[in-house]
């Protein structure tokens, strides 16, 4: 769901960069000496997860898991996404230098929204209800990302509206897969290490 350089109009690129800088600043305020390794390691896991390819029918997709990222990191998801995209741009040669801001916002904002909406619900519920909520968190974050990618394309020009629709349609199977994955991962974490979810981004570990 990355957008490449040269597609978007200047207004969209600048707006994306400004929102991204604000989000990164907010996210960095959550980072302290105590939790910096924790946030960095969890970001690294999501980077590694993005290298995992899951087959869907004849093709395969790579994991995004921005819903789970938001649920675990909160506001720190924004710098985590930015760092992942920067590393992909520099080390994988993906380019996307001017659209770094827009891509960061498209991936990180859904993570934050999911965290704010589903975080409290997931903390309170158990069993089947929790699994359904986690499924919805995982799939709705992908849906929101697809909508935002489509929106940034459509805002750049009428001729991209068809491409925007295509982006949304091709992401529907990904929403389903990511929903199941997020539900499974969330369920496992809640069973095995609930501290990972309870601690939130602010709490120090060493204390």
């Amino acid at each position: 769901m990355h957008i490449v350089d040269g597609v978007l109009s200047t207004e969209v690129v600048v707006a994306g960069a400004v929102i991204a800088v604000g989000g990164i600043a907010l996210g960095l305020r959550q980072v302290s000496i105590e939790n910096m390794p924790r946030i960095a390691l969890l970001s690294a896991v999501f980077f590694v997860a993005s290298l995992i390819h899951v087959p869907i029918g004849p093709t395969s997709i790579h994991l995004i898991m921005n819903g789970l990222l938001g649920l675990i990191l909160g506001w720190a998801a924004v710098p985590a996404v930015f760092i992942a995209l920067l590393l992909q741009a520099v080390f994988f040669g993906f380019g996307g230098i001017t659209v770094l801001g827009v891509n960061t916002v498209n991936m990180a904002l859904p993570a934050i929204v999911v965290w704010l909406i589903f975080g409290p619900i997931l903390a309170r519920t158990e069993g089947r209800t929790m699994m359904i909520a986690a499924f919805l968190a995982g799939s709705s974050s992908i849906m929101l990302s697809a909508i935002m990618v489509g929106l940034s394309l459509a805002l750049s020009g009428q001729e991209f509206v068809a491409t925007a629709r295509l982006v949304f349609v091709t992401n529907i199977p990904i929403m389903v897969v990511e929903g199941f994955l997020t539900a499974a991962a969330f369920g496992l974490i809640k069973k095995v290490r609930p501290a990972l979810l309870l601690s939130g981004p602010n709490t120090s570990l060493a204390a």
């Binding site: 000496i33 690294a44 040669g93 897969v177 199941f180 994955l181």
Partner: protein, 260 residues
Amino acid sequence: MSRHIVLSPASRNTTTGMIGVIDPRFRIICTIIFAVFIVSITSWQAVVATIVAAAVMVALSLPEWRKTLRRVLTMDGFIFATLLLLPFTYPGDTVFTVWGHTASQQGIYQAVMIGLKANAVIFTVMAFLGSLGSTDLGRGMMGLYIPTKLTTLLMFTVRYIDVLHHEYLRLRQAMRARAFHLRSNRHSWKMTGYLVGMLLVRAHDRSERIVWAMKCRGFHGHFHFTHLPRPAKSDYMFLLVMAVILVMLITLEALCPPLI
């Protein structure tokens, strides 16, 4: 083991080649300036010239050709998929028709232009930053007054991506040993979800040990990079050459009117 390294620069050695010895700050700044210039170009001649200039620079930095080519082709497949619909949705003179949808000349031109621009940026990044190691990236960012927290977070992430990737490969091997085969069904997705969850749990535990170990060694929020040396004469020469190239490209852009 080196086969599995996730974040490896495209070039073999950071100290060889023409670009490898240049101050990382200058390289990062040049990348940003060139990327902004490329996306605002309107004539195809200027974009092609930029790609040629960047490709020559990539060649001078002694890349691993197969890896570089594979990366470019992967990205081009992706770019192609993004731009596939553009000729059919852009209004203009009809060139050909597919299933009742007309492709316009202007649309094809736009799609080709965007494809070229995206490639130009990819080549520019490879030329300037392709041989940059992660430490130099951190030092360069620090030197450009990017917030220390962000740089430190980046360096930490870079450090542990490979560690956790090994952990991931180990877990996958364990799954393979138990005859797990990744298919497209719910069981596979659930297992992959457990795999990611387990990676997160282990990363969390590891981070606790790291915090304690680092606190013992007096960690107080950032890494101490060796100071970047003052920009040498060669760095300023590099900047000058890049400025000349940029002026030449801007002249080309001004001389060649956009086709449409």
